[in-house]
Amino acid sequence: MSQDMSTHLINEVKAFHKELKKEYPEASFNLKKNALSEFEKLGLPDKKEEIWKYTNASSFLNSNLKLGAPKKAITPQMIEGYLINTDSNRIVFINGNMESSYTFLNENISLSIKKESDLPNGFSKDSFGLLNKAISPEEIFIEIKPNFVLEEPLEILHLTTLENDSFINCPRVHIKVGSYSKISTLEHFFCEAYEKTPHYFVNAQTSIICEEGSSVEHVKCQRDSLKAVHIAEVKAIVKKDSAFKSFTLSLGANLARNNISSLLEDTWAHTNIHGLFVIKEDQHCDNYSVIDHKVANTTSDQLFKGVLDEKSHGVFTGKVIVNPDAQQVNSGQLNKNLLLSKSAKVNTRPILEIEADDVKCAHGATIGQIDENQAFYLRTRGVSERKAQEILCQAFVQEALDQISHIGIRKFVSPLVENYFNQFKILDEKTQGANDGN
């Protein structure tokens, strides 16, 4: 199965490369070709690999996936409803390709588009990272000047239209935030034809470099089609005295896999890797995070919450690495899950690799159901059973959403979650769960 899918993808990429070769400079093209041959060696991951233990990615990929998503003419009205501010800084992708006519950035933010990149601190060389590199026709570089505070969020939209059915999109975005600058960015993946549930595969990569003393918040909001596959990497390098805050919200996609990593490279660097997934039907959402404390006096904090209805399956892995010299590290991790149905399932595992001795690392995980006493309390005040359940689901997610620092972004994404609960079945049954803590 995984073998067949790998072969299919390799053939698709090879055909795509024939066309690409005509318009690409040779050096750039060779980088893509090399990425493909490395992918050929690895193939798609299977569950034998520790980092894919709970997710068989190839079983979610459709055998008619193809490359070369069609360009689609869009109107400003189509994207307005998805923007926090219609006049704010933004970069718009449609079916995986950047649309310059809808992209707008002020003079403190520079944008460059390159056909290649071989960054020393580039993306992971795992199967999907290599596949992304082999396919992505261009790399988007966004650079924020030093000593600049961006009040309004930078909005990165990834719009998918119905025409994108069966296509693979591989956006590649690099963000570099200059020293002592402060920005918040919302990366928003959504499907315009959500009700028609097109099949497509988004394989996205976002790299973020936080220069000395900078403060960067990256919020990802994923509302892809319920038949889509969304596999994405967010990789941050956090330098001296800087802070990187990540929030990953997953609502859509049949399979969503979020690889989030933060490398605390120098002293007094701090990172938050927070997130929330709210899933139903047969959705599968796998969150894999890595926080790497390279040096001493670095701190991290993590709160990941999940709400699961029907037959959905959630996974959380929180890996924390503390290197031998990284003394005085302070790290906290908490994963809490709310199961709304008997058939929903969660796997949660902390992985702590601690090689220093003077550190403080806490971790915990919970899997629970709606509290009957809380529900009864609400009902004795005239609130219907259904409404009481929705209120308690909202109360559960509130703690996670409160972690989003930028008020504008928080106010934009919170109602998306709240309004989602009225589509939930919320079965009144006993639930099951597994805690694979080590």
């Binding site: 009864f376 005040r381 005239g382 219907s384 209120i391």
Partner: protein
Amino acid sequence: MIKIKDLHANIEGSEILRGINLTVNAGEVHAIMGPNGSGKSTLAKVIAGHPSYEVTGGSIEYDVNGKNKDIQELEPDERAKEGIFLGFQYPIEIPGVTNIGFLRESFNSICTHQGAQEMEAPEFRTFLQSKLDLLEMESSFLDRSVNQGFSGGEKKKNEILQMAVLNPRLSLLDETDSGLDIDALKIVAKGVNALKSKFNATVLVTHYQRLLNFIVPDKVHVLYKGRIIKSGGKELALELEKRGYDWLIKESTEGKGN
């Protein structure tokens, strides 16, 4: 207003109520007393419709629009909409839900049921002010999560605040006096007394006579092993204060010959 006949109820298979008979009329205050484990709290929870209890016999007839209705057909929220209110012995904390959001949701669902207009947020805040004043509560309570981090006294005041907002016909107050210092007790009692009218009724579940100095009952019932073994006027509570329950228990077991 409510007529309970030969009520039997179980929790997880063990029988707690073993034939309760009790009638409460509009305008009355009843006190239910009795030793620990006698079934006092269970009775209040069963009337409110707690899902953990199973009614195995008897009936609870409640006056709905002039007709007696067996409330076992009604869900807990439907009972609340018909004016039944349970003041909890241990009010539940709900992190993430603000007190005002909860009160408004509750108030509006009851308004909608009774055909009254719902209230918008600013108007509702104004409406709440007099209720807060009655219970000597700061308005900052409204913006905190329901009961989270509240002291024992604050939780109980919050129960009576909800009662004041919802204006129930039948209030069941389960150990509302427990954990209160004398000042808080006086405020809570003042609140309950202010809400009393000839159209509503109050049932106080309590261990202590102390509360009954402030909220004077028309009738006092003593519950023991799931049955009412004695009923009387307010003087019965005073006698219990002096003599304890033993004499009554003895009297009732001898009377029944078992």
